[in-house]
Amino acid sequence: MRISTSAADTMEGYNFAYLDEHTKRMIRRAILKAIAIPGYQVPFGSREMPLPYGWGTGGIQVTAAIIGPDDVLKVIDQGSDDTTNAVNIRRFFARTTGVKTTERTGEATIIQTRHRIPETPLRDGQIIVYQVPIPEMLRWLEPREAETRKMHALGEYGAMHVKLYEDIAHHGHIAATYDYPVIVNERYLMRPSPIPKFDNPKMHMNPALQLFGAGREKRIYAVPPYTAVRSLDFEDHPFETQRWEHACELCGATDSFLDEVIMDDRGKRMFVCSDSDYCLARREKQQPAVA
């Protein structure tokens, strides 16, 4: 497959989306396998990218492998479109592909994310790409890779509840708030990347394709559209998401994930939506003149 770009402001001397076509093809094969086995971690030959590990090299490689000239890209970091990581990655793809970028969740065909799922529900045909630092959920339980793979192969996930047990024993409730373990398609245990557990229910039966890339750990996994994603819990301590006593102080939303922002050194603080696009869209709707 040959893809050429005509955009004038793209970089000379680089292939479309930075990676060479053979690498992209290798990554696409890994992605196809990952989609075929929901939640299973597929090893892939992760490449050296022009930014450090931990900054989203896995997500970038997945995006680079699937992006085409007609795609519209949105990149978020902690829900926001304008933080360093998001701005850099968005600009990286704008320069190496020339594709249109957007901050609107609804307009995007590919959304690369770190730590959040947008509040606006995703729809059919969209792809969300997660940046994953550590893909192996069983790692804290079992340091040996050979053993964790065997545990996945045999579906031995019972001991995973030990972690939740510890939380309840020490805190009275399941205190884990992010990177909360899920079972995909009633088979594989999956680490949802460090999204807040608030976002876990959004993964369940989501119409969008969800892809996960871990660059340093060289793993790709996926949740195909309309796939069951269940968060682990106990019968007497069911899974719960975070709740706030506040509404967003900018848009008044009561249904979104809120960030606590410290305003000064006297302890003044405010709660605002972590999803900047969602918050802005709500404010525009309330006061069309402000926009």
Binding site: A159, H161, K163, E166, D233, F234
Partner: protein, 259 residues
Amino acid sequence: MMTETPLLEIQNLGYRYGQRAACVDISFDLFPGEVLAVVGESGSGKTTLLRCISGQLRPDTGQVLFQTRASETVDVWAISESARRWLTRTDWGFVHQNPRDGLRADVSAGANIGERLMAIGARHYGNIREEATAWMNKVELDTARIDESPSAFSGGMQQRLQIARNLVSRPRLVFMDEPTAGLDVSVQARLLDLLRGLACDLGLAAVIVTHDLAVARLLAHRTLVMNAGRVVEAGLTDQVLDDPQHPYTQLLVSSALPA
């Protein structure tokens, strides 16, 4: 008493490390509720034997047959790995010499006991905790310390915790590798007393590997004496220890310091 079928049947088991034979042609039966001691000096193949029969090390020759809860006899090394691992979490227990090998050091005592329950499907926190508390009582640990990490426990307490962690799934067969080594004498005595009580109350069968003849005498109904990978003498514990027939057993018995 012993009209029933054996719980564990070892037939002509052999294992070599390269050219060196660790276990040669070992056969024995173990009946439900029976405690068997395997004694012998260091390097005689005791631990290799234990690893072969407890599903950790595939023997080169021979068979390990086990009668499951459902009264069906399985060849431990012929069933799927998944089924074998299931056995080790349900019907079997394994008590390591060093409690650190058998415990999860970074989670609380309660979680250590509850792990097996969760591994076999328990999903009710309250019930798991109740069971953990009950087992702490049974092994004489202070239940107020249920949320403490095992590293806060003494060696003897860690060993008792390890035993509780194994027995919580009500295994019918427990393997023990030098369970009392590394404990001081008074703690040893208390642990042996506890083990004897539990084995008796729960009708546990056990294979205990030890170099301590006193442990064998106190706990075991029968004793196997191993030397250079072979079983040189087997019989009722009192018989073997009081009237040893094989020269090596005689040496072993006469080497023990009088208590």
